[in-house]
Amino acid sequence: MSSGENHIELLQGTLDLIVLRALSTMGPLHAYALATRLAQVSDHPLSLNQGTLYPALIRLEHQGWIKGSWQKTENNREAKFYSITRSGERELGRQTEKWRRLAGLVDKLLLES
């Protein structure tokens, strides 16, 4: 609430799209790396509590779009790595398309006014 003007509220449902995109681009990531990655690309304006990732991860896993497995990090720590599945890739395509259309529509409306 107090993070200032740069704060962007994450739109409902967009977290799934962002996670899928990150996994598709970066390959398998654990939740911490994923959170760091999201912070990097957004130059920190998404004030994402790292804990909020988990419900999204379990939801995506239940839907069969991502898959988790225990592996070692480069520092030899154990972590659960998530990778995007084939049906996850298809879903990413669908959601991206949907998002573009929505964003375009909103843009158009904003320009008109």
Binding site: H30, A31, Y32, A33, N49, Q50, G51, T52, Y54, P55, A56, I58, R59, H62, Q63, G64, T73, N75, R77, E78, A79, K80
Partner: protein, 909 residues
């Protein structure tokens, strides 16, 4: 598909929740570790890094876990399970409330379940086995009289030859025979001559040997018999080598070929099967014995189709029927319906039978409302917990759900207890009461198991109870004033109030209890007056053993009915005389006599008209007395003196003289004390008798055989002499020195040696006659006692919770009043006056209809004393209720007296 997949995975996650939980904990730990590593890498000291990691994570690890759980599994399922566990724990934490609630709810639920099971067995009984529903009965209906005609042997033969829509068609003829074993023991057994197809209707295998087979039915085949398990156990001591042994049935010897298991009692409640051998040649329609015809619907045939085929066959016989001047219409019905035609046909009766269930639902309503009051009081003591949980974010639904789950556990326990009691009660009714009252086992399709339907019904009642007991108080307790309550909770008091609804419930409950107790007085009074009174007799009943005598009839088809009757009478009489002689020769036997009824047994009715005398008419209905036909020596054998006139003589019997003897009650109540000797008495023409009966001369007065107070004309007895053989239902009485029951086996063996076809039923000592009445009486008294105890328990608990609650709510006020110097007695009066006014209101409301019931429901013999009894009962019940209320106040009152001003001030700070 996707949502299905998600559902399944959530379910898996729910079932294996501990594994998912551990996996997630591990993942979180790893995440925090990685965060911590990154902070350390930036040069932070390890201790600080750990805190920084948690901050970066978002602080509340537990909340994250909770949200992940939400996404992973079914939270409501998880919570419901938790709530149920909590509910089970609450049972143990409040044992008093648990006990009262379980008793109250189980009476209503168990009563409803037992009643439904009973009515279903009565109205919609089902035969056991895979083909149970396809087994049917065929009957001829006489269209002229509207009643079934069972003498259909000739039709049966025709049906069996021609009907294609039924298979396994068979017939059964019930017979009573003495079963005489090799050791000479003879006892009457209820058996049936039956077609072998009966043993193929059910897939029940024989316990030993075999059932009947087709070849057994052949004329001239060796005589065989199949035993039921009951008989096998009772008469053969469950001998595994019984197959192949010879037994005698009356005069004929039969070989035992098999034993059927318990539960096989086809056609009704039989335990002895003989093959039915038919020689139908020369039989005319409606000739021959009474029989029941049964069969099984062929595969894929509906009962209507079978009926149509049967009607078509019957219509070809129309000429034949017209010649006989009677119309018979054959009818196919489901098997049990063909046996219980009277109940099955009455739609109204069925509706009434089922609607009695509403009584149990109303009972559940009353009990549920009471338990709800108690639960509300308990909820009030947990107000702080509820308020704090609400403050922490628990929704109202969530809290109501939790309280509902607690109530559900309570109601389920009550349903379990109620069902166990129902099952026990039904078994007791079937085995003990029915067997004693009717002297016959229950139909074979009655079983001890409660049907699925009954279990569901009980489940539904439990759910209804849980809604009443859990949801209603919960909604009241979590109402819109939570903010205000939060303040109260912080202050340690309680903000809840026993509002109008609960006051109403308590007043109603006390009123119902009072009404109920007064009804118990009324019912008990009537039961005592009209029902069972352990009869006192003017002769020593315990020295008499009594038995009902019957003898096999020789149904040779050649003889005419009247000839057969005459020869049967003569044979019976000869046999009786020989039996009497042989018994008198036995050591210890003092006398032998007979009558159709003795004190304690049902007598015939005799409507009274006296020549030249106008007896006083009873208040309603015609004047009638009891009557019995007796042997000439009956009064001498019983040792009851003739007070006036003379006793019967053997000549009265032989010549069938029109004479009668009356008892003292007859003289008092019918003759008004005047001398009856020489008067002539008969039955007048009335609705019961088409024509006046013959006149009888009263020749003697005998002392009353049974002694009771308040006798009316309906207790008077008129005796008539009769020879043995001419009266059905004759009872033999033997006067024995010493133990009359011990003489029973000797009586059996003497009778068997006189004539093996002489059958003995109900061997009882004369003081055991009213056993069935006594059992019924006891049953009613016990049922009344149980319901009274429940009602009392509930009202005591209700009053107690009201008092206790009042004290808790007013702790502060009491403390302050004590501090400013109020008198303790004044405080007590102030606190309890409201409760006592509620009790008083309840007593007043309940006693108005209650006393009216007692006053106007007074039994016949105590007319006029109804008002006095009502006043006495009211005083007693009111005093009782007030003392219960007083007793319920003791605990709370002691708490009031212990409240000190400092407590109240502390509560206020």
């Amino acid at each position: 598909v996707k949502s299905l997949r998600r559902f399944v995975l959530r379910l898996v996650s729910f079932v294996r929740s501990s594994r998912a939980e551990a996996d997630f904990a591990r993942e979180l730990a790893a995440h925090l570790q990685l965060l911590e590593d990154s902070f350390i890498a930036r040069g932070m000291p390890p201790e600080e890094a750990r805190f920084a990691a948690r901050r970066a994570f978002g602080g509340q690890v537990e909340q994250v876990k909770e949200r992940q759980r939400d996404a992973r599994s079914f939270r409501w399922l998880d919570e419901s399970w938790l709530d149920l566990k909590l509910g089970a724990r609450m049972l143990a934490r409040y044992p008093g409330l648990t006990a009262i609630a379980v008793v109250a709810l189980s009476v209503a639920i168990g009563g409803g379940a037992a009643y439904l099971e009973f009515v279903n067995e009565l109205v919609r009984p089902t035969l056991p086995g895979r083909d149970g529903q396809r087994i049917v009965g065929i009957q001829n209906w006489d269209l002229a009289t509207g009643s079934p005609d069972h003498r259909s042997l000739r039709h049966f033969v025709r049906w069996r030859e021609t009907l294609t829509s039924l298979d396994l068609i068979g017939a059964a003829i019930t017979l009573e025979r003495n079963l005489i074993t090799e050791d000479g023991r003879s006892e009457a057994a209820r058996g049936v001559e039956i077609s072998a197809s009966a043993f193929r209707l059910f897939a029940t295998p024989a316990l030993l040997g075999r059932g009947l087979v087709q070849d057994d039915e052949r004329l001239g085949a060796p005589p065989v018999v199949v035993l039921g398990q009951d008989l096998w156990r009772a008469r053969f001591d469950s001998d595994p080598a019984v197959v192949g042994r010879t037994v005698r049935l009356g005069a004929a010897a039969h070989t035992v070929v098999g034993v059927m298991p318990a539960g096989f009692g086809f056609p009704l409640n039989h335990s002895l099967w003989l093959p039915l051998r038919i020689d139908a040649s020369g039989l005319q329609r409606s000739d021959g014995p009474s029989l029941r015809v049964f069969g099984r619907l062929a595969d894929g045939v509906a009962i209507e189709a079978a009926e149509a085929e049967l009607t078509a066959i019957a219509s070809r016989d129309v000429d034949d029927a017209a010649r006989a001047g009677r119309m018979l219409r054959p009818q196919i019905k489901p098997y049990v319906a063909s046996m219980w035609s009277s109940i099955k046909d009455g739609q109204l009766q069925i509706a009434i039978l089922y609607s009695v269930n509403l009584f149990f639902i109303a009972l559940l309503g009353v009990c549920g409302a009471n338990v709800a009051t108690l639960v509300f009081a308990r909820t009030a003591t947990r107000e702080a917990e509820i308020t704090v949980r609400t403050a922490l974010g628990a929704s109202r639904t969530r809290i109501v759900g939790q309280l509902f789950a607690e109530a559900l556990v309570l109601a389920s326990v009550a349903a379990g207890v109620g069902l166990a009691a129902a099952s026990f009660g039904l078994r007791w009714g079937r085995t003990t009461w029915l067997a004693t009252a009717t002297g016959a086992p229950a139909p074979f399709w009655w079983n001890d198991e409660l049907s699925t339907e009954t279990l569901f019904y009980a489940g539904g009642l439990a759910l209804l109870a849980a809604v009443m007991v859990g949801v209603v108080p919960a909604l009241k307790a979590t109402g819109p004033h939570m903010q205000a309550r939060l303040k109260h909770a912080a202050a340690g008091g309680t903000g809840m109030r026993f509002g109008g609804i609960w006051t109403g419930v308590i007043v109603t409950q006390i009123a119902l209890t009072v009404l109920f107790l007064l009804s118990v007085v009324s019912i008990g009074w009537n039961l005592y007056a009209s029902g069972y009174r352990s009869a006192v007799t003017s002769f020593p009943r315990e020295h008499f053993v009594s038995v009902r005598l019957e003898m096999d009839r020789d149904d040779s088809p050649g003889a005419s009915a009247s000839d057969a009757q005459a020869s049967y009478r003569a044979r019976f009489r000869r046999t009786y005389q020989e039996l009497e002689q042989r018994l008198l020769a036995e050591p210890g036997v003092v006398g032998v006599t007979y009558a159709t009824a003795f004190p304690g047994l049902k007598h015939g009715e005799f409507f009274v008209e006296i020549q030249g005398f106008e007896p006083p008419r009873p208040a309603h209905g015609p004047l009638w007395v009891r009557t019995a036909t007796v042997g000439a020596n009956v009064f001498a054998t019983l040792g009851v003196p003739i007070i006036a006139g003379r006793a019967f003589t053997p000549a009265d019997e032989e010549l069938d003289r029109p004479v009668a003897i009356v008892d003292q009650t007859f003289v008092q109540e019918v003759m008004g004390g005047s001398d009856p000797i020489g008067r002539w008495v008969r039955q007048p023409q009335n609705s019961e008798n088409d024509a006046p009966g013959p006149w009888y001369e009263i020749v003697g007065v005998v002392r009353d055989l049974s002694i009771a107070e308040d006798k009316t004309s309906e207790d008077a007895v008129l005796y008539r002499p009769a020879v043995t053989g001419s009266t059905p239902g004759l009872r033999l009485a033997v006067h024995v020195n010493g133990d009359a029951v011990a003489f029973a086996p000797r009586l059996r063996s003497v009778a068997a040696s006189v004539d093996p076809t002489l059958r003995l039923y109900d061997i009882l000592r004369m003081d055991q006659f009213d056993e069935a009445d006594r059992l019924t009486f006891q049953f009613f008294l016990r049922a009344l006692a149980i319901v009274s105890v429940v009602a009392l328990l509930l009202s005591t608990a209700g009053v107690y919770s009201l008092m206790s609650f009042t004290v808790t709510r007013r702790t502060r006020e009491i403390g302050i009043r004590t501090a400013v110097g109020a008198d303790r007695r004044q405080i007590l009066t102030g606190i309890f006056s409201r409760a006592f006014s509620q009790v008083g209101l309840g007593i007043a409301a309940g006693s108005v209809p209650g006393t009216l019931l007692v006053a106007f429901g007074a039994p016949e013999v105590a007319r006029g004393s109804g008002e006095a009894m009502a006043a006495a009962a009211f005083t007693l019940v009111a005093a009782f209720m007030f003392s219960v209320a007083l007793l319920a106040c003791v605990g709370p009152a002691r708490r009031v007296l212990r409240i000190r001003p400092t407590d109240a001030l502390r509560a206020d700070s």
